[in-house]
């Protein structure tokens, strides 16, 4: 009881910025609360809901012209609606051109422009009911036929959309009436719904454009000033009454992280998309700025060559797992703003399963090496992509590996060479890497661990794994799938084709007069309910 009271006090103190996140986490640990949960507690969710309600209760607010300025990171290459990169979709695509469903704040799948859906017993027919009064930014109604035209374009192999391969199992897409869209699949495909959340923008095909595309989202893209930013204005015929709250949003690009942070400190921008980890503590000391890192879903890991070389022996991979001090890597590479992990999902994900991790135990590691026949140690090259935080991770684990006799020489290579020539071609024994988040475990695991998978340069192959991954694609029942992917993750932790290190936190920052803003765990960016006070 007293514990609960002190926890509430802690949360309040933290929200009022009387104590730093680090202190908060330490005190939570003292109360016996595990770090991932403490960090969930640290998210400003409670205050958020109420400020959103407050805003809704004052209808006049929407008419006031609230202008928000957002500090984004890299400029997208293109805003071609059906060829958005994951980053461009997360930054702008989902706000301007939302799809049928979306990946929500709790990492589940929720209605977006479709208000409901059902799938047939056999999993072959998916029926979506669109919201009524759905209108594009240019005033044209967004009917089921319009949605069908989008999917016809996406699925056309000659249509030039990268998303086409995702939809090979779709046999047809039809619009029986103005608000119903029916997909018919040629075979059951469990991740179908998840694929619809992935960059699948619904645009006005008659106004298809790669700089100022037209969607149905709360904000419309008015102008893209190359090199500077994108200007968005509120969509006055947005389906949700009273939203968005802001009338104009300036999406400005700040590729340089210092300038992003300084601009936030100076009040030139209201919300920054990403605060570099080394600057988080600095910003936490500011009165006018809020930074509340929340657990994210990207993952950094070490990949092994499982097909040849010293790490084709699983004992060598386990030796590395015992040799690396993950907490030190988290502290060193991410300044503590990440969570050590042994699987790719955070505890908040529906696919999370708790599996005991390898303990940091260099002696055990050496014993395993001796068993594998490497008692005298070995020397090898470790390729590293020159993309933060991979070189930092490499620098941090290098002494750990040296301590058990694995002497690695770091070979830093630009991403543009590393990705196609070294990583995808499996030209490594051991290498640190990072992957971005995927909604469905099938997307996460199938291409990476199935024998011969296109993202399986490790050469990992396990018959049971292949069988599980094939089943996971066709079974639609959540509990059955959960059991399958629990086993998948248990095998992966045991066999270690990848050694997961940590999940970096999502670290956005905002001025303290901004309300109704919530960070998305996949770093997608929504400001529909955000506004500025005073």
């Amino acid at each position: 009881m007293s514990d609960e009271r002190s926890l509430q006090t802690l949360i309040r103190m933290h929200q009022n910025r009387q104590i730093s996140r680090r202190t908060f986490m330490q005190r939570c640990a003292a109360l016996g609360i595990a770090a991932p949960f403490a960090s969930i507690l640290a998210t400003p969710g409670v205050s958020l809901a109420s400020s959103y309600q407050n805003a809704m209760l004052r209808p006049g607010l929407a008419q006031q012209s609230v202008e928000l300025t957002i500090g984004q990171v890299e400029e997208p290459d293109t805003l071609d609606p059906h060829n958005l990169t994951a980053a461009a979709a997360g930054l702008l695509g989902y706000v301007a051109m939302p799809g049928l469903v979306w990946w929500d704040y709790d990492l589940g799948i929720s209605p977006m422009i479709a208000e409901s859906w059902e799938s047939s017993e056999d999993g072959l027919t998916w029926t979506f009911n669109l919201r009524p009064n759905l209108v594009f930014h240019n005033g044209k109604p967004c009917t089921a036929q319009e949605v069908v035209r989008n999917f016809e374009h996406i699925m056309d192999p000659e249509g030039g959309s990268f998303l086409a391969p995702d939809y090979v199992s779709v046999a047809s897409v039809e619009a029986p009436d103005e608000t119903t869209v029916v997909f018919t699949l040629s075979e059951p495909f469990a991740p179908f719904l998840a694929i619809l959340t992935n960059r699948c923008a619904i645009t006005d095909m008659d106004a298809y454009d790669d700089t100022t595309p037209v969607g149905t989202g709360p904000f419309k893209i008015v102008e893209w000033n190359r090199g500077t930013g994108v200007v968005l204005e509120a969509h006055d015929q947005y389906w949700e009454e009273g939203l968005p709250l802001a009338s104009r949003v300036d999406w400005n690009f700040y590729p340089n992280s210092d300038s992003r942070v300084l601009a936030l400190q100076a009040g030139d921008i209201d919300i920054v998309y990403s605060v570099p980890p080394e600057q988080v503590d600095l910003l936490m000391q500011e009165d006018t700025v809020l930074v509340e890192p929340i657990p994210g879903v990207t993952h950094d890991y070490i990949a092994f060559n499982c097909a040849s070389g010293p790490f084709s022996d699983v004992r060598m991979r386990k030796a590395v797992a015992h040799a690396i001090d993950k907490e030190l890597v988290v502290e060193g590479a991410e300044w503590g703003f990440a969570h050590a992990t042994n699987i790719p999902f955070p505890p908040t994900s529906p696919w999370y399963i708790e599996i005991p991790d390898y303990e940091y135990d260099p002696e055990r590691a050496q014993a395993l090496m001796a068993e594998a026949g490497y008692a005298d140690g070995l020397e090898l090259d470790m390729p590293v992509a020159a993309t933060t935080p991979l070189p930092e991770i490499a620098e941090l684990i290098q002494p750990d590996l040296a301590a058990i006799g694995i002497n690695v020489r770091l070979v830093e290579t630009e991403w543009a060479t590393y990705w196609p020539e070294i990583y995808l071609k499996g030209q490594f024994d051991i290498t640190p890497m990072g992957y971005s988040a995927r909604v469905d475990p099938d997307q996460t695991f199938y291409p990476r661990y199935r024998t011969g998978g296109i993202h399986n340069p490790m050469g990992y192959s396990n018959a049971r794994m292949d069988e599980l991954l094939d089943q996971g694609r066709v079974i639609t029942d959540f509990d059955e799938r959960k059991a399958i992917y629990d086993e998948v993750q248990t095998i992966l932790v045991d066999e270690l084709p990848w050694l997961w290190l940590y999940l970096p936190d999502v670290r956005m920052g905002w001025r303290n007069n901004i309300t109704g803003f919530q960070q998305h765990p996949a770093a997608h960016f929504y400001v529909t309910t955000s506004t500025k006070e005073g």
Partner: protein
């Protein structure tokens, strides 16, 4: 920063003819003042070389030893120049960093000299056709901004200290070819060349025995000044992440890493920059002094 393509030796600072008595004195003063600066330059270079060679003896800490809990610590008696983002001693890393800078600078300029100078000699001495062929290729190489060419070469070869040497070396070849071509041309029309030829000397003999030695002083000045620019170039490339891989300490890389902490820990970026500037200054001072001493136009 990369070397301006004009040869500083071409744009020689010709000392004024000394007519009046007071002019003569001031000339002397200037000469000694310059030589004193050259001496300072030499001293700096010797110190940097000593630091590089005896780094393990001089450096107070292991430059690779991480101490995450003591990261970006301000300069103190324990760490004279503070620590970096992994808690490594900045002074020790700067001392070790001199190795990469000097090695890349030295070997790349050596490479450029060994290829560029003979090309310049041949171009200056030989027929019009060969001359114009060599010089057009050099012109083509020179029409890329040097950093752009170096970045492209490193993109092909992959970033590493050895490849940075090759890239900078290739970029500087045309500069050496140009520098040597002009004096070689002048020398090849001198009487002694005619005399040697009349006495049956081969072209090769004339070129390397007679003409080459007469271009040597210009070459030495050129090498010294190029060294300063090559060190700057290496710093720029490692600032862009195109030189030695981490955790090898290089000055440009340290500076780049420090850029993220300019607010909290400016020393992480300040000191490596000073190390670059001081070393480059050393080579420039020495180069200026040597030019005054060796350039025939000033040696009156």
């Amino acid at each position: 920063m990369f070397e301006p393509t004009i040869s500083l030796a071409d744009a020689a600072e010709v000392s004024p003819a000394a007519d009046s008595w007071s002019d003569r004195i001031s000339n002397q003063i200037r000469f000694w003042l310059r030589n004193r600066l050259a001496l300072v330059g030499l001293l700096i270079i010797v110190l940097v070389i000593l630091a590089a060679v005896f780094a393990p003896l001089i450096a107070p800490y292991d430059p690779y030893e991480r101490d995450v809990r003591n990261r970006i610590a301000a300069p103190s008696s324990a760490h004279l120049l503070g620590t970096d983002e992994l808690g490594r001693d900045i002074l020790s890393r700067i001392i070790y960093g001199a190795r990469v800078s000097l090695m890349v600078g030295g070997i790349s300029v050596g490479l450029a000299t060994l290829i560029g100078a003979p090309l310049g000699l041949i171009a200056g001495f030989n027929s019009r056709r060969l001359d114009s062929l060599i010089m057009r290729v050099m012109d083509a190489l020179l029409s890329f901004p040097e950093i752009v060419l170096a970045i492209a070469i490193l993109a092909i070869l992959g970033p590493s200290a050895a490849n940075a040497m090759i890239a900078i070396g290739i970029v500087y070849i045309p500069i050496f070819a140009r520098t040597i071509r002009a004096p070689a041309m002048v020398e090849s029309h001198r009487e002694y060349v005619e005399a040697a030829r009349a006495s049956g000397a081969t072209n090769r003999r004339i070129l390397f025995r007679h003409i080459a030695p007469n271009t040597l002083s210009i070459l030495i000045v050129r090498i010294t000044i190029s060294l300063s620019y090559a060190i700057l170039a290496e710093a720029a490339l490692s600032f862009l992440g195109l030189s030695a891989s981490p955790p090898t300490p290089t000055w440009g890389r340290m500076l780049k890493d420090g850029q993220s902490f300019m607010q909290q820990a400016p020393w992480v970026a300040i000191f490596p920059g000073l190390a670059i500037a001081i070393t480059v200054l050393g080579f420039n001072l020495l180069g200026d002094g040597l030019r005054d001493a060796l350039d025939p136009r000033t040696r009156k």
